[in-house]
């Protein structure tokens, strides 16, 4: 209970901003009708539709998670694994760098026709869109993290004759963790951005699909409901991620916190 009160106190600014935004929106729509009523339906319309869409939104969320989780964690696993391989191998790193530079910025949305053609099912091609988007930040984060490991940690590990997996898990990965986790954060952002693209084809459900679908019918009350729901979900995931990050990187935090 006490902790709850403290949390509310910590986020008091956020709460004020949200309330202000809510009030401004209500004044601009329901009360003074300044904004276009089709694109910006008032909360008198959004509220009931949000409520009536709830079951569908939850279902969509679960369906989105079925894309997000394998895409994101698949990318995490392969990105970190390949990153370790490339990062610990200067020669490989040097030779692959130009290729990574070239492939990295290609938007996964442009690859969709190819993915649909290559992947055996539509579902897998949707997962692949998210996978590709998340893969590069993981790969780059891991490579950079390993290449930039402070020499003092490497010296220390040499002096202790640490080698192989023991060195990997006790020195390399923890020392590279700040950069890997920063890549993981970027990947998480990409995952949500790409969700809508991944759900444009292939599936008939999911949060991205929900928003896209009602936008096609100009039902913006439901579009905004979907956006709010998705926003709420993203906030929860991001806060969870922040907490995880702090837990892993406790040793980088200031001594006199």
């Amino acid at each position: 209970m006490l902790k709850g009160i403290k949390n509310i106190k910590d986020y008091i600014g956020t709460i004020i901003i949200l309330i202000m935004a809510f009030l401004i929106y209500i004044f601009a729509t329901d009360i003074y009708n300044i904004l276009d009523p089709v694109l910006f339906p008032g909360f008198s319309k959004i509220g009931p539709k949000f409520y009536s869409s709830m079951p569908k939104l939850w279902k969509s969320l679960i369906s989105s998670l079925k894309l997000l989780i394998p895409g994101y964690f698949g990318a995490a696993f392969s990105g970190i694994l390949l990153g370790i391989l490339i990062g610990t191998n200067p020669r490989l790193n040097k030779n692959l760098k130009p290729i990574i530079f070239a492939l990295n910025p290609i938007p996964p949305s442009m690859m969709t026709p190819y993915l649909i053609a290559i992947m055996p099912t539509f579902y897998l091609s949707s997962v692949a869109v998210i996978f590709i988007g998340c893969f590069w930040p993981f790969l780059n984060g891991t490579i950079n993290g390993i290449v930039l490991i402070d020499q003092k940690y490497l010296d220390n590990s040499k002096v202790l004759e640490l080698k192989g997996f023991k060195k990997l898990f006790n020195v390399i990965l923890p020392a590279a963790a700040p950069s890997i986790l920063s890549g993981a954060g970027t990947a998480l952002n990409f995952a949500f951005i790409l969700l809508a693209i991944a759900e444009m084809f292939a599936t008939n459900s999911g949060l991205g699909h929900f928003i896209q679908y009602y936008a096609d019918f100009s039902d913006y009350a439901r579009v905004i409901s979907g956006l709010l729901f998705m926003g709420g979900f993203i906030v929860i995931v991001m806060l969870g991620f922040e907490k995880f990050k702090k837990k892993i990187l406790f040793w980088t935090l200031n001594e006199n916190k």
Partner: protein, 266 residues
């Protein structure tokens, strides 16, 4: 046993000569201080001793074997980063002990770790603390604990007390001397880098003064068996005071020469 012979070591970095013709002979069980102004190459020399870098030419012999690469036989205490910050002090020590005592159980190793924690004057609670929860002095005690628990015949210390306040520093000097003295039979050979003349006088049985650019040994002093300096004689004994003044003079002269050299180049 493990007498150390350093023969004509040359070392350069980025084409600049850092160490020029370093030679020395060290007896097993010596406490060797490498003394000199900062940037004079004494830490570089210690890195060669640790096997973290290789000389361009010359060699270092331990007994009859040429020194190659880093090894657990040469413990190293760095200035302030001997412990991995993401592991607790205990896990840091256990991790190193596992490297050396491969067949012993974790329980045995923990016992050993706790025993040495006590010997360096830390209480058991330190075992579960992370390095950044400890003060600088406690961190260095832990690092020294790790090194002594590994029990290497040779111990290399790179300005281990350089970042500590005077009182803590004095305490840790006494502690290291005590640990070193207590092993009467297998006394460790210690190489200790410092820029503090008093520290060198207090700790060492042999002092090598390093001059700068490129670094070479410009003065050597060995204490006889009975001549060990202690904190009182450091300021009362005439001979030692003379030696202290001489060392300070030599180092200052070296600094002056370096400055003059720079002015000529500019």
């Amino acid at each position: 046993m493990h007498d150390i012979t350093v023969k004509n070591i040359m070392f350069s970095y980025d084409k600049e000569l850092i160490l020029e013709n370093i030679s020395m002979k060290i007896d097993s069980g010596d406490f060797v201080c490498l003394l000199g102004q900062s940037g004079c190459g004494k830490s570089t020399f210690l890195r060669l001793m640790a096997g973290l870098s290789e000389p361009d030419s010359g060699n270092i012999l331990v007994g009859d074997n040429e020194l190659k690469g880093a090894s657990l036989d040469r413990g190293v205490v760095f200035q302030d980063y001997s412990l991995f910050p993401w592991l607790t002090t205990g896990k840091n020590i256990i991790l190193s002990l596992q490297q050396k005592f491969k067949n012993e159980s974790k329980k045995e190793l923990k016992k050993r770790a706790l025993y040495y924690l006590e010997r360096v004057g830390l209480d058991k609670a330190t075992f579960d603390k992370y390095p950044n929860e400890l003060s600088g002095g406690m961190r260095q005690r832990s690092a020294i604990c790790r090194s002594f628990a590994l029990d290497p015949p040779i111990l290399l210390m790179d300005e281990p007390f350089g970042a500590l306040d005077a009182v803590t520093r004095a305490k840790l000097q006494d502690m290291v001397l005590d640990l070193w003295r207590k092993d009467k039979e297998n006394r460790k050979t210690i190489f200790f880098v410092t820029h503090d003349v008093d520290e060198a006088l207090l700790l060492s049985t042999k002092i090598f003064v390093f001059g700068s650019s490129p670094s070479k040994i410009i003065y050597t002093h060995s204490f006889g068996d009975e001549e060990k300096v202690d904190r009182d004689s450091l300021f009362n004994n005439k001979e030692i005071l003379d030696l202290r003044n001489k060392l300070i003079h030599i180092i200052n002269k070296d600094i002056e020469e370096k400055i003059n050299l720079k002015e000529i180049i500019i």
